[in-house]
């Protein structure tokens, strides 16, 4: 084929000429490059001396920091799925989950619409439990029922009375379906959150 015979030397020539032109441009700066402003100039001996002083001060400061810093283990580099898990926040501990549950219960009893058909008889029922001798040494300070739970604030005569509370009321209505206990750390008081049958946290 004549066409194919001509194509190869033509392409070779074009590539050779192009390469020579590009090489020549790198050896001789263009007119624009010759007229470009000078952005950097040589520092004066005073400036060099000042920079050297600043560098020496920074090196000295870095050495002090390294000397006083506590020894640190290099962090392990997580790999694979461990790397993905390491980015997630750890799940709450059981104790943290229980504290959050009590906060949620308190918020619920304060914000729920009151179901008076249930709340009034239930409040009376709770009040009668603590007025009777069912739970000796524990006294109801306040009782508030909403629609899915009640909050009962209690004061105990002694630590022993408080410790016996769960055993004494757990199988007594209306506490049997589910009762949460928030124990005060500073006083002989406990707040109960009494769940309505069918209600869940």
């Amino acid at each position: 084929m004549n066409f194919q015979k001509l194509l190869a030397p033509t392409l070779g020539t074009v590539l050779l000429v192009g390469g020579v032109v590009l090489w020549a441009r790198t050896q001789h700066p263009t007119k624009e490059a010759l007229h470009a402003p000078v952005v950097a100039s040589a520092a004066t001996p005073e400036q060099v001396q000042q920079l050297a002083g600043e560098l020496a001060a920074l090196r000295s400061e870095l050495a002090n920091v390294r000397q006083n810093a506590p020894a640190q283990q290099p962090a392990a580099v997580p790999q694979g799925s461990a790397a993905i898990a390491a980015q997630d926040p750890p799940p709450p501990t059981t104790e943290e989950a229980q504290r959050m549950a009590l906060v949620e219960l308190e918020a619920r009893v304060e914000t729920e619409v009151v179901d008076r058909a249930w709340s009034i008889p239930t409040e009376q029922q709770i009040d009668s439990v603590f007025r009777s001798n069912t739970v000796p040494g524990s006294h109801a300070l306040s009782v508030k029922c909403a629609s899915s739970l009640c909050r009962v604030a209690l004061r105990h005569d002694t630590d022993k009375d408080r410790d016996a509370l769960a055993t004494e009321i757990a199988s007594t209505a209306p506490f049997e379906y589910g009762t949460y206990y928030a124990r005060s750390e500073t006083s002989l008081e406990t707040v109960l959150y009494v769940m309505r049958p069918g209600a869940t946290l």
């Binding site: 059981t94 104790e95 989950a97 229980q98 959050m100 549950a101 410790d163 509370l165 769960a166 055993t167 009321i169 757990a170 199988s171 506490f175 049997e176 379906y177 589910g178 009762t179 949460y180 206990y181 124990r183 869940t200 946290l201």
Partner: protein, 163 residues
């Protein structure tokens, strides 16, 4: 020629291994014979393959059963199942799950009860504490026998499931 029994055995072992690897939640099945009386033991308090049995007409008894969970592996209690025989027609066999903290202070309690007759089979109580529990006990009242010829009530076993 490959032995077909060897192939079947290999597949079975592989399947069992996969099941074991995929079930991270622990589960402990405990005999009711480990439960403790809250008062002194009497002749009517029997421990056998049915767990704790109240085999007397004299009085009801209270027992406490510890919940076992493997905290070393980050375990917590997501549900508890108890198998009991409730055979008194008018006195309920009553069990309460009491979730506590490490110091024994109550956080949550929930009660379940059942009654029956001398012919009653086993009954299962089920609890699902929310949030998951770390510590706790099952506290039960086991009724006395109705008469000396009727079958006794018993707390037979319980399963603590982790989550």
């Amino acid at each position: 020629m490959v032995n077909s029994k060897w192939v079947q055995g290999s597949f079975l072992a592989l399947a069992l291994g996969l099941v074991a690897a995929s079930s991270s939640a622990e589960s402990h099945t405990v005999s009711g014979a480990v439960c403790q009386l809250t008062t002194a033991k009497e002749s009517g308090d029997v421990y056998n393959q049915f767990g704790y049995v109240r085999a007397t007409t004299l009085s009801n008894k209270n027992i406490l059963c510890p919940l076992v969970v493997d905290h070393a592996n980050g375990g917590s209690i997501s549900s508890v199942l108890a198998t009991v025989y409730a055979r008194h027609p008018s006195i309920n066999l009553s069990c309460t799950l009491i979730v506590t903290d490490l110091a024994g202070n109550a956080f949550f309690s929930q009660n379940q009860q059942a009654s029956g007759t001398t012919a009653s089979g086993s009954t299962t109580f089920s609890w699902t504490p929310s949030p998951s529990a770390a510590y706790g006990v099952i506290s039960c009242l086991i009724p006395r026998q109705e008469t000396s010829t009727t079958n006794p009530s018993a707390f037979t076993s319980y399963i603590v499931q982790g989550g």
